[in-house]
């Protein structure tokens, strides 16, 4: 719902601005009151909404699964137990299917990634104005802030910081295990001695920079594609929800049409939400497998 004082453009921009806490250019720390202020803060700022929701959802996941893990025994499982075991089985099968090495980290990481990313994506299905309006009202009532300058984004996976943060963590683990399993020599060999190779030493020397260029690009592409795929899908989904929400302020006819559109898009989005979480998990497993397998 766009309020009468906002244009559609302002409404969209307002929805796409994170609640940012950081260091102002003058050195003091505080909330950013506009997109420009947030930009001026540069790197020394943190998105409070992204961190709040990702940590809350992560803790919710850990709490739920920990509860099931505490009560886990070999007897007849109850409802929660059944659900959690189904998830574990599903993840375990995925890991067995794609990961050939031996590492106790990979399966729990895949589980965490899948459920966490799913929950973060799932926030997209909550109507776009509910939580931001509530937070704006709370901010205005409790802190006397101008509700138009209280920014709040609910879906952490539409924040590239969140997706890059996870993708870079996976990438760091990938580099760590590549070097741990293959050694520095083996890993650098993988980067330089293929795909082109020759028995002639001089030709091989010529091939090395070409190989490195190709392999380096493909290596860098992994975290980039991993994070941008998730970010892009969720950002686009959120954008469409926001665009549909604008229709609610354009009369009853368009509002009803918007309602139907939102319902349809939400139903379709359930698929995207799950699929993106699954893809993120599968790629994480595949990258870890690459790190563990020798060529």
């Amino acid at each position: 719902m766009a309020s009468s004082e906002q244009t559609s453009g302002e409404y969209i921009k307002h929805h796409l601005q994170n609640m940012t806490f950081g260091q102002h250019p003058d050195g003091s720390w505080g909330m950013a009151h506009s997109a420009a202020e947030a930009k001026e803060m540069g790197f020394m700022a943190i998105h409070v909404d992204t961190m709040f929701w990702s940590i809350s959802l992560g803790i919710f996941f850990l709490w739920l699964f920990r509860k099931a893990a505490k009560g886990a025994d070999s007897g007849v499982p109850g409802g929660l137990q059944n659900f959690v075991e189904m998830m574990i089985d599903f993840i375990d099968n995925s890991v067995r299917g794609s990961f050939t090495g031996k590492n106790p980290l990979v399966a729990p990481m895949a589980l965490t990634v899948f459920v966490w990313v799913f929950l973060m994506n799932f926030m997209d299905l909550i109507p776009v104005d509910w939580i931001p309006s509530t937070v704006a009202w709370l901010g205005a009532t409790l802190f006397g802030a101008d509700p138009h300058h209280v920014y709040f984004r609910v879906v952490p996976s539409t924040d590239p910081n969140a997706t890059f943060g996870m993708a870079l963590s996976v990438f760091a683990l990938m580099l760590f295990y590549s070097i741990k399993v293959k050694g520095v020599g083996g890993f650098s060999g993988e980067l330089t001695l293929q795909p082109f190779s020759s028995s002639n030493k001089i030709v091989m020397l010529l091939f090395i920079p070409i190989n490195f260029l190709l392999e380096f690009v493909s290596l860098i592409a992994k975290p980039l594609s991993l994070s941008l795929r998730l970010f892009g899908n969720m950002y686009a989904g959120e954008m469409i929800f926001i665009l549909i929400a604008i229709m609610y302020s354009a009369g009853i006819g368009l509002g009803l049409f918007g309602g139907i559109l939102q319902l349809g898009w939400a139903i379709f989005h359930i698929l995207i939400v799950t699929l993106q979480a699954f893809i993120f998990m599968t790629l994480t497993i595949v990258y870890m497998d690459m790190a563990h397998s020798e060529h």
């Binding site: 699964f65 075991e85 574990i88 729990p108 910081n161 943060g165 963590s169």
Partner: protein, 159 residues
């Protein structure tokens, strides 16, 4: 869309969550799953074993039943044979006993007859003697006459 500290915050969160999951969630759950798998497998194996044992027991039972049936038949046959034997024996025993009793009775009767005959002879002799004494009266030498009569009696006896 600014890249800022959130990136690092998210990475730290990621590692903490993965670590927690790896330490406190994954192992107990997979252990429970493995244990249940094992229990189910054990249960199935036990059931199969039980079925096998039941089959064996049934076979044993039918075999025992067959054995006992033949044994019972043997026993019945034997006892029937024995019974008829006993009856036969009893029959022959009673027959011989009867014959023996008959013989004894016959012998006794003969003895009795003999005794009666003796008695009769003696009485006849006495009668004859008395008659003769009455007839003769006077022939007094009783001793010689009795000797004579004894001889006569002996002769009769012998005859």
């Amino acid at each position: 869309m600014n890249i800022n500290l959130t990136l690092i915050g998210q990475s730290i969160t990621f590692f903490v969550f993965v670590w927690f999951c790896m330490k406190f969630i994954w192992p107990p759950l997979t252990n429970a799953l493995h244990e249940r798998k094992k229990r189910i497998a054990d249960g199935l194996a036990a059931a199969e074993r039980g079925q096998h044992e039941q089959k064996l027991a049934q076979e044993r039972a039918t075999e025992t039943l067959r054995d006992s049936k033949t044994q019972a038949g043997d026993i019945i046959n034997q006892s029937q044979k024995r019974a008829s034997e006993i009856i036969e024996e009893a029959k022959s025993d009673s027959r011989t006993e009867g014959e023996r009793l008959l013989n004894a009775a016959r012998a006794e009767i003969e003895q009795e007859v003999n005794r009666a005959r003796e008695e009769l002879r003696k009485q006849v002799a006495t009668l004859a003697l008395t008659g003769a004494g009455k007839v003769l009266e006077r022939e007094i030498d009783e001793a010689t006459h009795s000797k004579l009569l004894d001889e006569l009696a002996k002769q009769i006896q012998a005859g």
